[in-house]
Amino acid sequence: MKAHLSRRYLFSASHRLHSEAMSSEENKTTYGKCNNPYGHGHNYIVEVTVSGQVDEKTGMVCNLVDLDTFIEREVLARYGHENLNTLPEFAGEVPTTENLCIQIYEIVHRGFAHAHLETIRLEETMMNSFEYAGDQGS
């Protein structure tokens, strides 16, 4: 039988929303407080949902240790306590939570082989969350 397993992880990071393609007035209008040149931070919660057949021998979709080890090494160590704007993937892209959600999806999709990645859901605050399930066309 096929089941979906979801695991939630927390990391803290800072960012500034600023687009080189906009004038400074436009940036202020578009991003408001988030355009503050000194940046600001969030406690992000990333919710990873994977799916697969429940293994009859273990009763599991995948071993949690494998998932935890992968996410800690590839996602939490990469983004935790970092300024997102200084990372190469955001050199030419605004580190909005939408873009961060897509980056995390790509990392897990590319590197985690123990189960099928369904979605990445990223909470920026308790009020805002974003979800990405891969490019499914428009």
């Binding site: 039988m1 096929k2 089941a3 397993l5 939630r8 992880y9 273990t58 009763g59 071993n63």
Partner: protein
């Protein structure tokens, strides 16, 4: 089609062990969860049903009935129990969150009358949960 979700909580203990594995294999696969004396969780169960809204009652499902079925079929059997030893499904199957979600689905599916079961979600902790949609 409207979806309705009802939550419930239950507390239970369990451990993970496959008698076909060697002790080393069990420990390697299940880690701390292999402790034969068990450990416990406060589980949160979310049952989502779907259906058309009945024009007379305005309900997808009679919530009172759904609550009673969840209590009778799931909570009475699993709340404050040692799952491995007291719940028939888990005498010969490991009570992982995946298998609990499947067992809850199987216990509820045939008992619902008005609405159809859409999803069973079982939270083992606030940071770990399993969804089962009845898929093979």
């Amino acid at each position: 089609m409207v979806y309705l979700t009802r939550k419930a909580e239950f507390s239970a203990s369990h451990f993970y062990h496959n008698p076909e594995f060697t002790p080393e294999e069990n420990l390697r696969t299940f880690g701390k969860c292999n402790n034969p004396n068990g450990h416990g969780h406060n589980y949160t169960l979310e049952v989502t049903v779907k259906g058309e809204v009945d024009p007379r009652s305005g309900f997808v499902v009679d919530l009172k009935q759904l609550k009673e079925i969840m209590h009778r079929e799931v909570l009475d059997a699993m709340d404050h129990r040692f799952l491995n030893k007291e719940v028939p499904e888990f005498l010969h199957q490991i009570p992982t969150t995946e298998n609990i979600a499947i067992a809850v689905w199987q216990r509820l599916e045939s008992k619902l009358q008005q609405a159809r079961l859409h999803r069973v979600r079982v939270y083992e902790t606030p940071h770990l949960f399993v969804d089962f949609y009845g898929e093979k």
